[in-house]
């Protein structure tokens, strides 16, 4: 159902992952997950090592945060995040690169899974794993299946349907074995014996590589998927692989599925098998005018400016810097914003394409309705939001919108449909929460 085909522009697809040195100063935001911010455990002047717990997630939906570098805590101050808000962050002056001794830094892949189901979930929680596909939902919460529900299958999301981004692709090529062990770990943690790895057909090398490897792993199967945006949306992936539709307002486990992104699976492998907290991730740095489009393994807290420098510097004609992909990413206000656990890429758009297309009147062509992967009517939702008709917007399932942006992408009149729908979701969400009180 629905979907669009934006130009893929996977310029950095062939670039092997390069591990970057730690930055001079790491800015580690205290809110790196969907849910409550974490509580800092360090203060000014404290010496820290890479992998040391520096903030604890205390709420049910929250996560631990670890230092990504070694050095001294300069201060806890506010730093601009990708949304443009000033948020508290631990700022660390880097000295050397000393890691916690508990981390297994050996090269080999640890295949033997020795921990129990409960211990696996505990390890994932302890090491601060969150969904790296972008939503940053704490992973251990996903593994705790609510009473009365049953997980039947684990889905690993290797779709990477966002144009430009290649971090997951490279991870699948270079860390295939680790991903499959990580998948097995998650299967055990979830108590399921079946896992599917969904990959779009535009990555035949990754499909071939993982299909070959997974013969040695019980219950894991690679599923090639049609190239279509947003094939990697959680609900779309579940539909594509299991043919089940998650009902409106429900979680994937309602239909027995739990989805994890390949980046998350790799982090789970490192956390459980190598005892390594999540403090670095693969970030694609790309754009049509970027000199060296790259896939970097970057420490959390690395300023975006450093990534851009490593990719050949900010192009002369840069008009927009996006954290994430072009369909769902956020336009950054500042290059000082640091990498967080949810940063999948940095995309630099030329000045000529940075601005929106000219606005025309809606001609009711219905293309937004055609492409909506959730079967909604974006034009209707946008009109209801415009006129502040929140009850009607709720009736028309505005909260089901996954904000994929296909409607705005395809609109020949350049209507800012998603802007209005986001506004409506915000208002309707508030009203639903107030009702619960």
């Amino acid at each position: 159902m629905g979907g669009v085909h934006p130009p893929e522009n996977k310029i950095s697809a062939g670039q092997k992952i390069i591990a970057l040195d730690p930055p001079e100063q790491a800015l580690i935001l205290l809110n790196q997950n969907l849910g409550a911010p974490s509580k800092p455990l360090v203060k000014k002047g404290d010496e820290v090592k890479a992998g040391q717990l520096i903030a604890r997630g205390e709420a049910f939906i929250s996560s631990n945060i670890h230092s990504s570098v070694s050095g001294k805590v300069l201060k806890i101050d506010s730093v601009m995040d990708a949304s443009g808000y000033k948020r508290p962050a631990v700022i660390i002056q880097v000295k050397g690169d000393e890691w916690e001794e508990s981390i297994d830094r050996s090269k080999g892949v640890v295949k033997q899974i020795s921990l129990s189901q409960k211990e696996i979930i505990e390890k994932i929680k302890e090491n601060g794993i969150v969904g790296l596909g972008g939503a940053t939902f704490p992973s251990h919460v996903k593994l705790m299946v609510p009473e009365g529900k049953k997980a039947e299958v684990l889905l690993v999301n290797g779709v990477e349907c966002e144009p430009y981004l290649t971090s997951d692709h490279q991870l699948m090529l270079s860390k295939g074995e680790e991903l499959l062990v990580g998948t097995s770990v998650l299967m055990k943690g979830l108590g399921v014996d079946k896992a599917y790895i969904g990959i779009e057909n535009n990555k035949p090398d990754a499909i071939g590589h993982l299909s070959e490897l997974c013969r040695q792993y019980k219950g894991i199967q690679v599923v090639p998927l049609k190239v279509k945006y947003p094939q990697g949306g959680e609900k779309q992936l579940i539909k594509a692989i299991t043919n089940r539709e998650v009902p409106s307002g429900k979680l994937p486990v309602e239909v027995g599925a739990v989805v994890n992104n390949v980046g998350t699976v790799f982090a789970v492998y490192e956390a459980v098998q190598k005892n390594k907290p999540l403090f670095e991730r693969v970030v694609t740095v790309t754009g049509k005018s970027v000199k060296k489009p790259s896939n970097f393994l970057a420490r959390i807290g690395t300023p975006v400016s450093m990534l851009i420098d490593q990719a050949g510097g900010l192009p002369e004609n840069a008009g927009k810097i996006i954290s994430g992909g072009p369909m769902m990413g956020k336009a950054l206000l500042s290059v000082d914003t640091p990498v967080v656990k949810g940063t999948s890429g940095i995309l630099i758009i030329d000045e000529a394409h940075a601005r929106r297309v000219p606005l025309m009147p809606c001609i009711r062509c219905g293309r937004c309705v055609d492409v909506c992967p959730m079967g909604l009517e974006p034009i209707l939702l946008a009109q209801l939001s415009e006129h502040e008709m929140w009850d009607k917007a709720e009736d028309q399932k505005i909260m089901d919108c996954i904000e994929c942006g296909s409607c705005h992408y395809t609109c020949p009149a350049g209507r800012p449909l998603l802007d209005y729908v986001r506004l409506g979701k915000n208002k309707v969400g508030q009203r639903i929460r107030n009702r619960g009180k």
Partner: protein, 334 residues
């Protein structure tokens, strides 16, 4: 340091625009324009020019002096309306009547609702119906088609009935369909455009060619045309099967009158038809049923324009009642 643009996602846009869509429709009309000039000569050229220029003029002047908005003349929609209005009149239509039609099309049917995208009814069809009711004689005097520069092509003096008009008239006199069909131009001529009628509607073949172009460029989808043509074919087919002496072969209905023009260029008009696929099915089927009812039992020989306008009126209701299938609406079995 560069100035950075900040805006919400998405940050890329598809390469289609309202203007490209409108001019795409104009390109799709070219085969039918050529056929109209071939069969109706300079009369067709005059009608096309007068209608297009008048429509664009009214659009420009109203936008500038009454709406006082940015110019909209270049978006292509007034040109589309102009060509479509011309397609809906005979080649010998006096220019002054045509200009009145253009005024009704643009000023009343389009701009008074706020312009592009706001009108509930198809502007060219409103113009056509206005002329049909106000100037019935001029609107139903059909010059006989003849190949370009052959004999009386330039004079437009010889007039004859349309096949649908002839059929209705003769059936009224108590004759049977097989008898009347002897006097018809025949399916091949009707398909190619060698029949009496409005300048743009005579050639089903040329209109289908344009429609294919629009389908390939995804300016229109197949849902409404298939629903519309299918309904007309099945409905008239059932009648033909029941009594071939009273009811004509369904193929005749497909290649005569304004059906192909209406199906592909008016029933697919984005502004005045439903937004969802489900809605398009309803719209097409409804227009098909109404067309057949008017053609067979109504007072006019042709019912396409009325049928589409009536369905235009139902469009808001269809949009309300026939929603796309929501994701997760019904849990599919694994």
């Amino acid at each position: 340091m560069n100035t950075l643009t900040i805006s919400g996602s998405p940050h890329v846009h598809g390469d289609d625009s309202v203007k490209k869509i409108m001019y795409g429709v104009v390109y799709a009309l070219i085969p039918a324009i050529l056929v109209s000039v071939y069969f109706f000569g300079l009369g067709a050229v005059r009608v096309l020019l007068v209608s297009s220029i008048a429509c664009m003029f009214f659009e420009w002047i109203i936008q500038k002096y009454i709406i006082k908005g940015p110019p909209t003349i270049n978006d292509g929609s007034a040109l589309v309306a102009g060509v479509l209005l011309a397609f809906n009149v005979p080649a010998n239509m006096p220019s002054w009547i045509l200009i009145i039609g253009a005024f009704v099309t643009i000023a009343i049917a389009k701009m008074s609702f706020g312009g592009l995208g706001k009108n509930p009814f198809n502007p060219a069809l409103v113009g056509r119906i206005f002329l049909l009711i106000s100037f019935p004689v001029q609107m139903t005097s059909w010059p006989k088609p003849s190949a370009l520069f052959a004999g009386d092509a330039l004079t437009d003096t010889v007039t004859g009935p349309t096949p649908l008009g002839l059929l209705k008239e003769e059936l009224g006199k108590g004759r049977t369909v097989p008898e009347i069909m002897q006097e018809m131009p025949g399916y091949v001529n009707e398909l190619l455009g060698n029949q009496g009628g409005c300048i743009g509607e005579v050639s089903a073949a040329a209109l289908i060619l344009g429609a294919l172009y629009m389908l390939i460029r995804r300016i229109i989808t197949w849902h409404t045309p298939v629903a519309y043509l299918g309904t007309v074919f099945v409905f008239t087919g059932i009648l033909y099967f029941m009594d071939p002496l009273q009811y004509v072969n369904p193929l005749f209905h497909l290649v005569t009158g304004g059906l192909m023009l209406g199906v592909f260029f008016m029933a697919t008009d984005m502004v005045t038809t439903p937004v969802s696929r489900r809605g398009m099915w309803i719209f097409g089927a409804g227009a098909g049923i109404l067309t057949v009812i008017i053609r067979i039992w109504g007072g006019y020989p042709e019912g396409v324009a009325f049928a589409i306008l009536i369905m235009n009126a139902f469009t808001p209701l269809i949009n309300r009642g026939f929603k796309p299938k929501r994701f997760g609406e019904k849990v599919a079995d694994a």
